[in-house]
Amino acid sequence: LYDVRQQRKKCDQGGQLKLLDLELDVYQGPFDLLFTLILKEEVDVCEVRLTDIIVAYLDALLETGRTDWDGLSEFLVLISSLLELKSRLLLPGQVPAEDELDPATAAELLIERLLRYQMFKGASLGLQERLVENQGRLLRPADPPLRQTPVELPAASQDPRILATAVSRLAQARQGPDASHISPARIDLRRQIAHIRRMVVSQGRFSFEERFGREEPMTQAISLFALLELVAEGSIRTSQSRPFADITVMRREGRRVA
């Protein structure tokens, strides 16, 4: 709550958001007042659908037809602090135990980062100058291409143990991801027999390739077993022009299949 109040204080000068009128299930009135009520814990933020506020804000934005950047950033700051507050309240056990930075330290860290960024920004402008200074010159491409110059390594600079570690790491990386939490495909012979029976009844005939060709190998295999079962049972007929060609599955005339 402390953070939210701080954000609120910072954003209070503009005040454009006072104009945003809300009609929510739990609250009707200006956004500004809602914020105050949440801070005073008179409205439970958990009962407020924040998406409704965002939609209302976007509607208001579209209506006015102009982009008020100050107001927009103010809104973003406030709504994100509400989101954080709400998510923390909804997941009380999940609050990370990390030490919260006090605002002063956080601000100093931010400034440090910004200064570091500015330094590289300056360096990039320096590079840009160099680029311009060195423009307008061409190298000729080598023809034929030069032989690759062998890299000379000092003798015995390579440790076979490093290679061994690297190779074993590669081997480890080859083990695929753990997919044990994904339930295996649910396919069994009895269900597949029933399925094919229904298809033969409803369609009269169908192509095995067309129907099962794009399924996973296990599904294809089970479907083939189901087919064999049905053939043995005498309830369907199959034809195949040559080995490994597509199988046409047909209803067996005069026999009940269902």
Partner: protein
């Protein structure tokens, strides 16, 4: 018959002309081997003579430049307009501010990982990095030995060529780009923070 020095100069010129990329002193010496062992000092002396013959921005159509820890012949900048009529590829490469910032970080912090670049810039820099890799200014140089082995990036010889650098140490020191004292206070003011006492 040419004397030995004249023959060395002739061959050196041919090597530089044919290479199309900077040749190190060692490579040049290897190319001149059949004249009998050429000491690096001798090659250096020959290069000095060629540099006088083909000075940068001089009267010739090409010039000898010391770039990327090697020596290379390239066209004189003053011939740019003549070449523009014939060449398709622009001799004026352009880079977006994002790409230049990313390049600066790679140049000064190499070897550096994607996440370290993004951390400095405060935004994901993958696409800027990709552009630099495609333009052959930056390349993968290895993986971090510890942790999950993040891919590390460094600048290429082409980077030094295009930016006219004799070597990476010829980059102006990063500290020179440090923001001045007032910058921190200016940032505090803009962030609405109080100034330290």
């Amino acid at each position: 018959l040419l004397d030995r020095r004249a023959a060395l100069l002739r061959d050196l010129e041919a090597l530089l002309f044919a290479a199309g990329r900077p040749l190190s002193l060692a490579l040049l010496a290897a190319g001149l081997e059949h004249h009998g062992e050429a000491a690096p000092a001798e090659v250096q002396d020959l290069l000095r003579e060629l540099a006088e013959r083909y000075p940068v921005d001089g009267a010739h159509g090409f010039e000898l430049a010391h770039l990327a820890e090697g020596w290379v012949l390239r066209t004189n900048r003053l011939t740019e307009r003549a070449l523009a009529a014939l060449t398709e590829s622009s001799a004026r490469p352009r880079l977006s501010p994002a790409a230049l910032e990313t390049l600066a970080i790679v140049a000064y912090c190499q070897p550096v990982s994607r996440s370290e670049i993004s951390e400095v810039r405060g935004v994901n820099s993958d696409s800027a990095l990709q552009t630099l890799v495609e333009r052959e200014l930056v390349a993968e140089v290895g993986r971090r030995p510890e942790g999950p082995g993040a891919v590390l990036f460094g600048t290429t010889d082409r980077f030094q060529l295009i930016f006219g650098l004799e070597s990476l140490t010829a980059l102006p020191p990063l500290e020179g780009f440090q923001a001045d004292e007032g910058a921190a206070d200016e940032l505090r003011r803009r962030l609405g923070l109080s100034l330290p006492a």
